[in-house]
Symmetry: C2
Subunit: 414 residues, 2 copies
């Protein structure tokens, strides 16, 4: 279960109410008209789980994922969180960057006979992904039409070059709906298939996501509209939105959030103005010793959303030991680390509220599949709402094209 | 060797020249008067390397470091970078956060008979560090006065509670100079001792740092003054400073930078105003698929500094394979990943320059101990220069005290 709490006053002006109502209608239209597809993924993706049942995956001990950006960030986030309470989950190895040292190190970890390989790209033309895939084919002498045919899977758009490649070699293929963009695709085949193959209960993840979608469209998640409106109203002065998660395992989730928020909202709006909000991911308590000073005493240009785990389901307790000359720390003896990290989150939140920072929080009763599904949808809905208020195209990324063109031109001349 | 390149016009006004000269004099005074100690660490820390020679470390295969914030960030950064070209480096295990799941997992990785333990805290009162240290003592039944006496080391300020604890148990102790703050302490015993014990050539790291310090104070690093002045002059509009590093192994370095920049400059200045610049760490090429869109089309509130490795010293090459239907990617065949990632960095930089973003770059000819030492000093000097221009106390962190007081009060009531 997720609980939401905001220290921001509820917006009650007619203008705010109209803005929230309008944004809600935009999302409802995106959903019902199928202009935007992620709203229906929690039910649509169930078919992939059915398909997987017919595939013998018992020999796969390593799940190798080749992709970048939206093709891996969400999958890594879920793997990092759920591996903690899924002790028999299979090892996932991600190839993303074109850094040769990482690629070489990852290659050395793989035992081909125990591995399956996912190549994930909406188009199939992603330069990092295809270059790494070629390297893997070469390194392991993969026989795509013979003995290795059953260990290579493609996840891509219908009719894409990668889809045609998969059909040519009769590889098992999973498709991403055309109306689902990369950074909104974690609950499509992109995340669901490799994570299910790794042993995670993706039915439960989809279930948690579906519940929040349904209650949102039943107008039972007003906090999301309020939160989006607060981001919108403060967009000129509170330009930086910090997600401060009190659990190490949420670090990859904050990276997923950074892509979702930054790439969706950083746009030229319909009036030709540059708009956008800058996301930052922090991990508590570690970043209390790093970034917190800047939030407290620096420019008041930040909002902070805390994510707190109420129960880590771990009993580790600070022993009742008194250290010579350090007896001043004994007041924490016999308390659990679960209590300590929760108290640290609460204290940091309270200190920010007292410093006048715009703060809200999301509490998870525990780390669970359903909670992760709901958490993903929470941020996707919030992103769509803010995008509707900012009047941008939330779902494209035209700004990165220039760099690609320069790259292709430069590489041809090397 | 580090090469610096800036796309920002050189500041030539009298006001800018005076500002740069004044900041230079502030740093020179900090150094000569010993008000600030990090400038002399590259020579002072040589004595720790001498001390280590007398300690038999041959039985240690795991270097366990217990600390948080400035006590670990720099050490992790160096370990991540140099482990790639130091194949016989020992495993380093870091205990930082109060997250019970991470602590439990780390405990299970340790073989006590092959491990040594560093407890690192300037004061000794850091709540995460002492709580974890007690947990380790209890978990491994460490006999501090008996058989385990030689495997536990303390790194702390002279005369601190932790220093008194170490003396009480006759533990080997290394001290941090009083005039060196946590986030400037990586080249003190804090980083040098555990990293040397892990097998890294810390003499070379200190050597690289010393060379840059000397040339800076000989007024041979004018680019640093120019860069600091540019940050200062644009502080109202370009409030976010991105460090975009094109190497996976630099991710922990960007985290070290985030603490250094955020916690040093986010302050109430001498006139009572809230000032500060917000640091963000990105990794290329991955974050081209995540954050770049926001920089290109979002608000023009960001500067970007690229770090590029000219030669990864890795020959991995994209094989000459043509994939059915994906032949459009063949133009990159037979090129090395080293070439690809370098070209990606150049293309992204060029696209940002063309978009009017304030861009500069630091190129490392390769990943080496000397280059890492220089890179650390480069950012420390830059931080001190900008702090002098902003008229803040670069070396304290008063803002985080409120949260600590709330934590102590709340925990007493649980």
């Amino acid at each position: 279960m997720l609980s939401f709490h905001s220290h921001v006053p509820v917006a009650g002006t007619l203008e705010a109410k109209n803005r929230m109502q309008h944004a809600f209608e935009v999302l409802k239209d995106e959903m019902t008209s199928d202009k935007v597809g992620y709203y229906k993924l929690p039910t649509l993706s169930l078919e992939h789980l059915q398909t997987l049942k017919a595939i013998d995956t018992s020999s796969f001990e390593q799940i190798v994922v080749i992709g970048i950006g939206g093709s891996t960030l969400g999958t890594k986030a879920i793997d990092s969180i759920l591996s903690l309470n899924t002790p028999d989950a299979k090892e996932m190895i991600f190839f993303e960057n074109s850094d040769p040292l990482t690629i070489s190190r990852n290659l050395s970890k793989i035992d081909k006979d125990k591995a399956c390989f996912f190549i994930i790209s909406k188009s199939g033309g992603t330069i990092e992904t295809t270059s790494i895939f070629k390297t893997i084919i070469n390194h392991f002498k993969l026989d795509l039409d013979g003995e290795d045919n059953g260990r290579v899977f493609a996840i891509t758009d219908h009719g894409s070059p990668l889809s045609r490649f998969a059909k040519h070699h009769k590889l098992q293929e999973f498709n991403i709906p055309d109306n689902v963009g990369g950074r909104f695709s974690v609950l499509s085949a992109v995340g669901v298939v490799p994570l299910a193959m790794a042993g995670y209960d993706m039915n439960a993840v989809l279930d948690g996501a579906q519940e929040l979608i349904e209650s949102f469209f039943k107008e039972e998640e007003n906090h999301l509209l309020q939160k989006a409106n607060s981001f919108y109203e403060n967009r000129q002065n509170q330009t930086i939105n910090v997600l401060f998660s009190y659990a190490d395992s949420l670090e990859n989730f904050t990276k997923w959030y950074v892509q979702l928020w930054g790439e969706s909202l950083g746009k030229i709006d319909i009036e030709g103005d540059r708009v956008g909000l800058t996301p930052i991911g922090l991990i508590g308590s570690v970043d209390q010793h790093s970034f917190l000073q800047l939030i407290i005493e620096g420019p008041k240009d930040k909002t902070v959303t805390f994510i707190k785990i109420d129960d880590f389901e771990n009993e580790l307790t600070i022993p009742d030991i008194s250290l010579y000359a350090i007896e001043s720390t004994n007041f924490i003896n016999n308390k659990s680390f679960n209590t300590l990290i929760g108290a640290q989150c609460d204290a940091t939140m309270q200190s920010l509220v007292e410093s006048g920072v715009n703060v809200d929080s999301i509490s998870l009763d525990k780390i669970s599949e359903k909670n992760i599904g709901a958490l993903i949808i929470n941020f996707e809905l919030l992103t769509s709402l803010v995008g509707a208020m900012l009047k941008v195209n939330t779902y494209n990324q035209p700004g990165v094209e220039l760099g690609k063109q320069i790259l292709y031109k430069n590489l041809e001349n090397i």
